[in-house]
């Protein structure tokens, strides 16, 4: 006797799968990865100022990388691509991390002024360092795990400015080539974590649109360099 177990048949997936695409540093490589996976990105690459690019099977929704977890967690996008740095900074966002896409590789580092002993000096004489960053939670976690007390100062713009002006002793920031640090007379003191682009999914979409999500994961996975 075989009665159909068709939980998925009941919840008919409706419309195209919505994929959150990060604008910014990961944009180009994300589109290349989507091309490799057989998704048409020509519209997105065009001059259009639109934010949503509908397709027959997959719609692309473009947004700031740091908004991707928000949209995916809320189900406004079914799946998305964003950096591990964003996921670590927003680790309380409940999204499924399905795949390391391998591109967009950069390092989260602690950096200070070249030849400047202030990082150590501040710790010795004041018991604590002042650290400027756009990633306050990653920074706090790092120093907590390494048993040091710091004052984390959140800034929005060029974080390199903080140690140069005396706002902070050091910075925690994302570094790709290290050129910005070099140009501002800063150097890496500690490596915290390496970040790459990740493919994430909404919890409910992962269950109810499992076939589409699995297929897309597999196709994107084929393009990842081993």
């Amino acid at each position: 006797m075989s009665v159909e177990v068709a939980g998925m048949g009941r919840a008919k997936a409706e419309g195209p799968l919505k994929l959150a695409v990060p604008r910014g540093a990961l944009f180009g490589e994300t589109l290349d990865a989507l091309d490799l996976a057989g998704i048409d990105t020509s519209e997105v690459r065009g001059e259009s100022r639109a934010l949503i690019f509908p397709g027959p099977e997959i719609s692309l929704v473009t947004m700031r990388p740091s908004d991707v977890p928000t949209y995916v967690e809320g189900g406004a996008a079914d799946v998305g691509i964003t950096g591990k740095d964003v996921l670590l900074e927003q680790s309380d966002r409940m999204v499924y991390e399905l795949l390391d896409l391998g591109f967009g590789r950069c390092r989260m580092v602690l950096a200070g002024r070249k030849g400047d002993k202030r990082l150590g000096e501040s710790e010795r004489r004041l018991g604590m360092m002042r650290i400027a960053t756009k990633y306050p939670r990653i920074a706090e976690r790092h120093f907590e795990q390494t048993g040091r007390q710091v004052e984390v100062i959140e800034v929005k713009g060029s974080v390199e400015l903080a140690p140069l002006t005396g706002l902070a002793d050091g910075i925690v920031d994302l570094v790709a080539t290290g050129r910005t640090l070099e140009e501002n007379d800063l150097e890496v003191r500690e490596e915290i974590v390496t970040c790459t682009a990740r493919f994430v999914a909404n919890r409910v979409a992962h269950k109810l649109r499992s076939r589409e999500v699995d297929q897309l994961t597999a196709k994107l996975g084929e393009g990842v360099p081993r």
Binding site: A11, G75, R203
Partner: protein
């Protein structure tokens, strides 16, 4: 004048209240109609009593002292208070006990759409009925409750809480390492999971792959065969348990609501055996969950198998609204 209320709490005004009341009534009618008597318990309990049920949910509890200096806590769900109630009030009564509730509970979470710090749960507890029949009865009540709420597209995920715990033991992974792997699994952080597993001593590539592949298996009965092909005694036992539950669900005619999901892992510490999660395609958040907790009552001195579920009432209401507007069309 504007007077603030704490974050994560809210007022309910008459239009919404009317709809919530209607939803409440529909759900209680389903529960009572199947012999589940409604109970209420105090919103505050001794912290010690709640922690006895589950140390981990206590993480996000609200605690405070009373005038005698005793530590009190706001309940974070109804399962533990009802376990306490049954052990205290029904210790000598003949099981099974069928109880239901619609009650507010409190968790110190980050408030967002569909997740508040004070929220209402509607659910049942079936205490003294073992698997698979007890589980199947609870799923049947859950399916009827979803129908009564108008969520006929909602799907019930069915998994097994013991699968990974036992699988990792079979692989020789125990203690802190096991907990940290389980945490990755619960969060579905596959990248982290692979990294974590491959960093462990004594676990080979094939075992690592088995773990990752299992967590991605979800769908109809065919996933049980796929799981079996991955091999191992633990997988065999878990799939047999799910298969058995599925068999009783088929007899009760509710198997079509169920999606087998071997990746399901609820992070409440008291679950054992079957676990459930509820989804509706109109909502990106989980509507509710439940499962078996055969070892929970024992912690209160009454050794009875048990199962239950809880729906987040506000989320069900949101899903109801989304489903209705979908039917009406844009």
């Amino acid at each position: 004048m504007i007077h603030p209320i704490p974050p994560g709490t809210r007022d309910v005004l008459p239009d919404e209240m009317r709809e919530l009341r209607r939803l409440n009534r529909a759900l209680v009618d389903v529960f009572e109609g199947r012999g589940y008597g409604e109970v209420a318990t105090p919103a505050i309990e001794y912290d010690e009593v709640l922690a006895r049920g589950d140390g981990r949910t206590a993480d996000s509890a609200y605690r405070f002292f009373d005038e005698r200096g005793d530590l009190l806590a706001l309940r974070s769900d109804m399962t533990v208070p009802i376990a306490r109630l049954v052990a205290t009030r029904y210790a000598n009564a003949e099981p099974p006990h069928r109880l239901c509730y619609i009650a507010n509970a409190f968790r110190a979470v980050r408030p967002q759409r569909g997740q508040m710090r004070e929220f209402v749960q509607a659910g049942v507890e079936l205490i003294g009925a073992p698997a698979p029949e007890g589980t199947a009865e609870v799923v049947e009540v859950l399916a009827a409750a979803l129908d009564a709420a108008g969520l006929d597209r909602a799907v019930i995920g069915l998994g097994d809480a013991d699968l990974y715990r036992q699988l990792l033991t079979e692989f020789g992974v125990e203690g802190e390492a096991r907990d940290s792997v389980l945490e990755r699994l619960a969060m579905h952080d596959l990248v982290g999971l692979e990294a974590e597993l491959s960093s462990l001593e004594g676990i080979d590539d094939k075992q690592c792959e088995t773990c990752v592949a299992l967590s991605q298996l979800r769908g109809g009965r065919e996933v049980l065969d796929e799981a079996r092909s991955l091999g191992g005694e633990v997988v065999e036992r878990a799939t047999a348990r799910i298969d058995e539950t599925l068999g009783t669900l088929e007899q009760r005619g509710v198997a079509d609501r169920v999606q087998i999901d071997l990746g399901l892992l609820r992070n409440l510490g008291y679950y054992s055996g079957a676990i459930l999660e509820v989804y509706d395609p109109a909502l990106g958040h989980v509507l509710g969950g439940g499962g078996r907790y055969d070892n929970l009552l024992k912690r209160f001195g009454l050794d009875l198998p048990a199962a239950g579920f809880a729906l987040y009432l506000e989320r069900v209401h949101v899903a109801q609204m989304e489903e209705e507007s979908r039917e009406e069309g844009p």
